[in-house]
Amino acid sequence: MASRSGKYTRDFAFEKATAFFASVVLFLAVLLFAVLLRESLPALRKFGASFLVTGTWDPVLERFGALPFLFGTVVSSFLALLIAVPLSVGAAIFINEFAPPWLKAPVSLLAELLAAIPSVIYGLWGIFVLVPILRDLFMKPVTKYLGWIPLFKGPVYGPSMLAAGVLLAIMIIPFILSVSREVLATVPQRQKEAVLSLGGTRWEMIRIVIGQHCLPGIFGATILGLGRALGETMAVTMVIGNRPEISASLFQQGYSMAAVIANEFAEAGGLQLSSLVLIGLLLMLVTLVVNLAAKGILSKMVARASRGI
């Protein structure tokens, strides 16, 4: 009996211990939020909601607004998705469905290796390799012939919103690629064979299988990539040009929320420091909103996908 009650005590202790650990996580999140809120109060009081719609960032006159940074973070991240999603989903389909076995392992290994490179290395590579290539081989010719489109308006310097988007895309490809591959691998072989046996081509098989089965998973992979892109700091600040301005042209410089915090935090004081913390709080809210929205869409997609089968 004694040993049995000892077992119960251990069970009880184990349950309480796990509950404690769970509450630590919760406590940390609340603490983080509370500290950000407290430190950003001076800026909140001074600027209020206008902080969200003001485009000035003047540390000398102490006038601060977050709009250019919000714009830069959102635009560079979505630009990255626009490039990375088709690329990585396409690559995932190729690796899983078409690639000869001897090619599968090296390609997926290299793709996953991309995820292990520190972001400052990406940034340096961006400055010395990606930006000059983009500038001379893409931006200059495009602005010469299509410069009348606001999206491609010059002058071309190199560091730009486009450079940030492309670099971010390269950084998030391994994440989207490897999750997409996992998702594609979950499709039952029999389902694929069923489509083929009904006279479907490979393309039809992939289209039906992905449409029916894999869309929620691929969407999830995309959100994972987006989360990484929104918070990326070092690589972005090294190629985006760090100019707090809103421009319709992808060839002009921008700035991101994470980048301005990293750049100015160390030497900031007073209202500038408080405004930087407020930007941090906003960044936290942006990621929270994106993740919640994604969860909502995902659960709807999952419901639809399971109804389809």
């Binding site: 000035t56 960032w57 003047d58 540390p59 000398v60 006159l61 400055i127 010395f128 930006v131 000059p132 002058p155 310097y157 190199g158 560091p159 600040t237 090294m238 040009g241 760090n242 100019r243 410089q253 700035y255 980048a259 990293a262 750049n263 100015e264 160390a266 030497e267 900031a268 004081g269 500038q272």
Partner: protein, 352 residues
């Protein structure tokens, strides 16, 4: 069982031994002096601490190069024995400290315009107004008549000027914008001076290396970096017309000359700007870097060691500056600093 007790006994012996070792170390432990602040003088200070500790094994230094703003915060909070900064403390900042602070100049730095221009050799000539015009976005092409007439021997290319500046808050930006504010009224009205400002145009690079990266990678770019950084990376530097109308190439001698130029009028607290300094040879975008110490030291031994170190730094230490691309303090300034060191005291008694 026996084995376990054997292990325990062994551990106990080891523990006692290690405690003895630790105790022994404490007895001969050197006096540790903690400092924090500016990144600009960090290579110089590291060298100083190393050399000084070799000669005086009783003193060791621990310096965190967290930035000038951080150095001021730490010395204000009293968490370090000394702070270090490239921008002197403001009156407001001085009010927040628990006791009077003494600024000790230790070295001189210069900020230099660097550029990337095919065909144009070293020593592009610029005037204060042209430099301000470029950074205000009013002079946008290299063949602008205002630049061309200064550089008649060179054919200036018909190319865009790409302006680069620091994106991070820094003492380098403070000196550079202080210079533009001093020499150009439009800059003063529109932008002003600070560690970070609202730049009218340009691309931001993080750190000296970020600005240098933009300049090196972008044809037609102009930026500003510390003299030491430009020298070590062999970048093309512009010469600038100084207050007395001479075009000066940025060198360590020209930087020291700027300090010599203001030595006579240097205030007792050394919080002085060297930008646009008088003197024929003076490089106009120069600045001091300071160590911050409390006038009234709380710990006699540490205070004494600190003063002895500073006495050494402004004499023997100055000889190490040139090798690391810092400009040495001119003799006239060293003498004034020496007087200031005598004011550092413990309970009213000078530690000099």
């Amino acid at each position: 069982m026996r084995r376990i007790s054997g292990i325990l006994a062994g551990t106990a012996v080891a523990l006692v031994l290690s405690l003895a070792v630790v105790n022994g170390a404490t007895a001969a432990d050197p006096l540790m002096i903690n400092g924090a602040g500016a990144t600009f003088p960090y290579p110089l200070y590291s060298k100083w601490f190393y050399e000084y500790s070799n000669a005086n094994p009783g003193v060791k230094f621990n310096y965190q190069s967290i930035g000038s703003g951080g150095g001021i915060k730490q010395i204000t909070a009293g968490t370090v024995n000394f702070g270090a900064t490239d921008a002197p403390m403001t009156d407001e900042e001085l009010k927040k400290t628990p006791g009077p602070i003494i600024h000790i100049p230790t070295a001189l730095g210069a900020v230099v315009p660097v550029y990337n221009l095919d065909g144009a050799a070293e020593g592009l000539k610029l005037t204060p107004d042209v430099l301000a015009g470029i950074y205000l976005g009013k002079i946008t092409r290299w063949n602008d008549p205002k630049i061309a007439e200064l550089n008649k021997t060179v054919t200036m290319p018909n190319a865009d000027i790409v302006v680069a500046h620091r994106s991070d808050g820094s003492g380098t930006t403070d000196i550079f914008t202080n210079y533009l504010t001093t020499v150009n009224t439009e800059w003063r009205a529109k932008v002003g001076r600070g560690k970070a400002v609202n730049w009218p145009i340009g691309i931001g690079g993080k750190g000296n290396e970020g600005v240098a990266g933009v300049v090196k990678q972008t044809p037609g770019a102009i930026g500003y970096v510390e003299l030491a950084y430009a020298k070590q990376n062999r970048m093309k530097v512009a010469s600038l017309r100084n207050r007395e109308g001479h075009f000066v190439t940025p060198t360590l001698e020209a930087t020291s000359a700027a300090a010599a130029g203001v030595a006579k009028s240097m205030p007792a607290d050394f919080r002085v700007s060297l930008v646009d300094a008088p003197g024929k040879e003076s490089w106009p975008i120069s600045g001091l870097t300071w160590i911050l110490v409390y006038k009234d030291q709380k710990d006699e031994a540490r205070g004494k060691a600190m003063v002895q170190f500073l006495k050494w730094a402004i004499r023997d230490g100055q000889k190490m500056e040139a090798a690391l691309d810092y400009a040495a303090l001119p003799i006239a300034v060293v003498e004034k600093v020496d007087q200031a060191l005598k004011r550092i005291s413990f309970k009213g008694k000078s530690l000099y």
